[in-house]
Amino acid sequence: MSKVPYEVYTEEVEALSVLSPDGEIINKDKLPKLTDDQLKEIMYRMVFTRTWDDRAVNLGRQGRLGFYAPVSGQEATMVGSEFALQKEDFIAPGYRDIPQLVWHGLPLYQAFLYSRGHQHGGQIPDGVNVLMPQIIIGAQILHAMGIAMGYKLKKQKQVVITYTGDGGSSEGDFYEGLNYAGVYKLPVIFFVQNNGYAITTPFAKQTAALSIAHKAVAAGIKGVKIDGMDVLAVIKAVQEAAERGRNGEGATLIEAVTYRFRPHSLSDDATKYRTKEEEGEWNEKDPIARFAKYLEKKGLWTEEDTARVKEEAKAKVNEEIKKAEKTEKMTIPGLIDSMFEKTPKHLEEQKADFK
């Protein structure tokens, strides 16, 4: 009989970094294998995502977008984690995880339509393995379980990644998800973007655990903590987790320590709960600046490249928002007909109220 250890995991786990803030490789063993073209593509996506976020915030202020949750600062976790997956892998996102969906194949104009409350926004094209953004924090984690079990039953070597925040890691659904994944050895990656706040509630008031990664222990799955401002650390951790999933070794919980430069949503005022100093400290860890330094040293990226990508992104965003705006408006009869495969009689009658 094995002995139960007297004390279990009470020390802080150190977060994995691959790049130093100056863009130097500090952890050679954990450098993901990537070609120069791939490195440039990752940078392209991060700059594009930042530009799109800037534009989205403006579009929101102009009333051209609806609900929108900013992402700036989280480009490494979002772009990097998606990049480490294969096209066939599945994404179950929270409301903020729109970049992962778009880089996985959801057309950008549909992301805008979703934001504007148009149901076509959630109509995922065939062959794109994602769910629409989830508003109920934690619900998507349980869907990920089911999808992963499906892959397992069908003996397909695909993995499912599901995202939530530090706040989301307190929900009952989160614990239930970890536990199921452990019991059934499911190919799931739980990716927690710990950006220090759940709306206004700081991490210290969210949990007394030293890290979210610790929470994997109780579920019998692997838990790791990584530097979420370091895109190479993100890619490495997700690649390893995906490989474990594909090899039948089960689930991984990844806690990525990151920061969102903007408040929770467009209607929130972060100055009520965050300090300028804190924001300044995190600015120095900007994932784009850090990765740019690395690429510049390798001769793969210049400031002109950044400027070019920004222009491209602006043009693309303009095109896509126009496309969203031109999409035919929903109607109530159309909405009624989308409730059931065959519209029941009482609903047919209700259409008459909306002529």
């Binding site: 609900f67 706040g167 509630t201 909306f354």
Partner: protein, 326 residues
Amino acid sequence: MAQMNMKEAIRDALRVELKRDPNVLLFGEDVGHVGGVFRATEGLQKEFGEERVFDTPLAESAIGGLAVGLGIQGFRPVAEIQFVGFIFEALDQMAIQASRMRYRSGGRYNSPIVFRTPFGGGVKAAELHTDSLEGLLTQTPGIKVVVPSNPYDAKGLMIASIRDNDPVFFMEHLNLYHAFRAEVPENDYVVELGKANVVREGSDVTIITYGMMVHTSIKAADELEKTKGIKVEIIDLRTISPIDIDTIVASIQKTNRAIVVQEAQKSAGVAAEVIAQINEKAILHLEAPVLRVAGPDTVYPFAQIEDTWLPTPTRIIDAVNKVLEF
């Protein structure tokens, strides 16, 4: 008297009760330090301290269960569920645990809890932030459901809810938080739970409604009076569980015609319950069937087409005309 909007009136009620009774506690996601996502509880943590007014981790079932446990300990928790769509996460604690504590313990324990939740459409909020889910709770025995339509009622109903020894689900319409100001007494007063209010007297037809739809109905009634001289009586239910059927019956005895207006989807909700009770208690006074104006039985379509989805004055006028012409 002071001029307050509905949000300020609710905050004032909470302040009055926190001050009066040391057993009153206020908690939920983000309610403490910054005073909630709508700032409805702003300043209360500063005034009463972190032991009385506090932020919880993000876990609604735990918020509900905490309230139940504190209730057993003799506290009077006022627990906020940040937006209505998230009550499902807490539904076991609200609809099953809190509501049957008195029954299960043979009266040994009770659940003197107020669950506060913002809800209500027309504000272009995100998905699942505005749905009218009150029907779910009105189906549950053992819990009262309150929906104020103005600042005066909101304060008096909130104070009454906190003092009530049974659980109350208190729903605050987003569109009414800042809609207008009204005279609100600064001292404490209660508006009795379970009592409706005749907000407009009339003799031709009765509109029974609650929450934001009181105001939409008033618009329709103004129009009917102006264009056709029709005198509409409007009843604001204020408490939708239990329903004040006596006030409704008295009105129908006078007007002999009625419609019910609710924001929620049409089937099996509060309007259906009101009509069932009218059938039981006043059928012989009716000159026409009682009609419902409600949202259609679809999911709530956030943002894009909510203005056409929600009951409009035009749809209310159509229904009134139908019962008058029956």
